[in-house]
Symmetry: C2
Subunit: 404 residues, 2 copies
């Protein structure tokens, strides 16, 4: 493992100095080799699927899904290159010229579970931002991940880039995760975990290097008394039901008491066969199961929605502050003052007015691609694309100045 | 301790919502009460000084130094308020309007050692950026820090702000540091340590929350063969000797072989009574002690300079990559291509061309004030001022959009 770290660090020094176009070429070559090695990747995936006991759909690849992976890689190749961009530049009274420019972070350690596409997406986004990456796939998808990595490595080699730029931990040994969380003797600059609660908890307990964590997305949609009824119904239905398994799906509906009697039935109808679990008041309007304390803190990732009647906007904001995970919350309102107050007061990575929480996505934000949604507050917050995987340095240009 | 955390979190929610001017008023009131309570602060400081066994000069306050502290607080009150500033805003093809706006981080935990001014500076900068702060002073300066905190608290109270906005751990109990590093049950968002190696090591071992670390500043100045001799002499002399105890002071001089015979004597003369420790070649030009391996890795913070003759710019860059701490490095050169290559290739927070490394300072950068210089790569790098103590959130304004 420490040798992988050293090779990643050496590769990072090479990547940092390459022109953007060379990295674009390498990313395109990776996509090409994913297509060339499709039979090998699908065969490896079939073994993973045969051995799988759960999450089989997430794991399964076919020609169409593999082509989608190759296309996603090519999209990253077409994204603007963030490295070297001047973020700010100013002059000081003493004549010093100070520029802040984007630079790669260095070596990213990616620890993830069962989605095979993460292997390719993460490698492409890291290369786009000039970083080397060490991939550690969960055991369920390890054969698929290794086969995809083999294709990525062939692309790198064809482009003349060092193999250390994209490496994969070859086994599912859990000790490897521990070593990555320790930083591989100073080689890893940033850990990005993507997976279930057990992984997230392990990372927060053991990590000795900075992490960009993706915790739960316990997202709320709040229907204000000024809400347009049709917007409320379509937004809540989309926020919950478009895809129930994504982190931006709404898990709790908050609705103002004064409009609940008329709006809740309309929203419930729009939600179709979603199971509702409400407080006593909600149940008196629409028949549903009684919500327990756990319902306010559960990321269902399923067609289940918790429903609470609130006493106005401050009550809604307080509920979100208490139970939310700082991911994404939305307000449905026609009153702009109420909406702006909500946008101001809610301390989540993404706060939305009159749109679905399922827009919480790097692609929907225009970032081109994302490696995850950061729920921490430091460095990056919300969708993490190539730009979020850079840091910066200050370039100070003088003419002989010394400090008095 | 956990109660302090809860009060800080509640205060942070209040600070977040205050207008900038209210926070400016509170900061000015803090300065006013530092002046009012000067006799109390100086008496407490005299007790600290009497008990001190080392670092007495750093610790000692007098009327002039206390007035400098009050003035520094007032300067922070006059700085532009970063909270709420729109960093970016764009429209998506579906009509969604996305804005990225600065928001406070929340609760900062500041763990520091013997400089009493840090108590006031850190509180003012955190308030400027809308954050609550929990201060934990080292035992040597604890009486001074508590007396300064008492003045700050009086200012807060006068301005009507909650006492939880600026709190101090009342004892020197080391267990308090451990609890802060654990995050006080989710209350602390960011730890900023400022102190010696033992503290930094403890923080990197125990912290369970993000940290903005200030590691060593093992800064290099590299004299390129194209250097102007007079600039080289004055820059190196200033970079080392202006103040030897600051983190931006140069600890190692690298000089190109082809100009060493002429330039090194001139630089040595400009350095005055600085002790030089060089490699064999440097010693053959100017008499000096022989540098051992430890000299390339020691942050002297003293009038001692390590000197190495290098084989050109790549050798200099390689030396810095191997021994540097990513803080600040400078090149002295008249050849712009060489200078730009150095600026590009060196991966430090601050890379300087033809000026002294002692410009590594938030004030010199125009940030108005700094709470430290971050040597990590994540979130903030280099001087940490009010803007660097903010994060951001995305505000998404729609008109009923749902995601296809």
């Amino acid at each position: 493992m420490n040798r992988m770290g050293r090779e990643a660090r050496e590769a990072a020094a090479v990547l940092r100095a390459l022109p953007a176009e060379t990295r674009s070429d390498a990313i395109r070559a990776m996509a090409r080799h994913v297509r060339i090695q499709a039979p090998n990747i699908l065969a490896a995936n079939a073994e993973d699927v045969a051995a799988a006991t759960s999450m089989v759909d997430r794991l399964r690849l076919d020609d169409a899904r593999l082509e989608a992976i190759a296309l996603a890689i090519e999209e990253v190749a077409a994204l603007p290159d963030p490295v070297g961009a001047e973020i700010a530049r100013w002059q000081r009274p003493n004549g010093l010229d100070i520029a802040r420019v984007r630079t790669p972070i260095g070596v990213i350690g990616m620890i993830y579970e069962s989605r095979p596409n993460v292997t390719a997406d993460a490698a492409a986004i890291c290369l786009r931002s000039g970083n080397a990456i060490i991939l550690r796939s969960g055991s369920e998808a390890l054969r698929s991940a290794r086969a995809i990595h083999q294709a990525l490595a062939a692309g790198l080699a064809q482009a003349g880039l060092p193999a250390g730029a994209v490496q994969i931990v070859p086994t599912a040994d859990r000790a490897a995760v521990g070593m990555m969380l320790e930083g591989l003797a100073g080689s890893i600059d940033l850990i990005i975990p993507r997976g279930g609660k057990a992984l997230v908890e392990r990372v927060s307990r053991e990590a000795r290097v900075p992490t960009l964590g993706h915790l739960e997305g316990l997202c709320h949609t709040y229907v204000h008394l000024s809400a347009d009824p049709d917007k409320a119904a379509s937004i809540v239905a989309n926020a919950k039901m478009r895809r129930v398994s994504v982190c931006g799906s709404t898990e709790t509906l908050l609705i103002d008491r004064s409009v609940a009697a008329t709006l809740l039935p309309q929203i419930a109808a729009a939600l179709g066969d979603c199971e509702l679990r409400g407080d006593a008041e909600a149940r008196s309007i629409v028949p549903m199961a009684l919500a327990g304390d756990a319902d306010w803190t559960t990321e269902y990732l399923a067609p289940i929605l918790a429903v609470r009647i609130v006493d106005g906007i401050d009550d809604a904001i307080a509920h979100i502050a208490r139970y939310g995970t700082g991911h994404t919350e939305a307000i449905v309102a026609e009153d702009p003052a109420a909406a702006e107050y909500f946008l101001d007061s809610v301390d989540s990575a993404i706060v939305i007015w009159n749109a679905s929480t399922q827009f919480a996505d790097g692609g929907e934000f225009g970032f081109g691609a994302e490696i995850g949604i950061a729920t921490g507050k430091l460095h990056a917050r919300g969708p993490v694309g190539p730009e979020q995987l850079t840091t910066f340095k200050y370039l100070v240009r003088g003419t002989g100045q010394v400090r008095p």
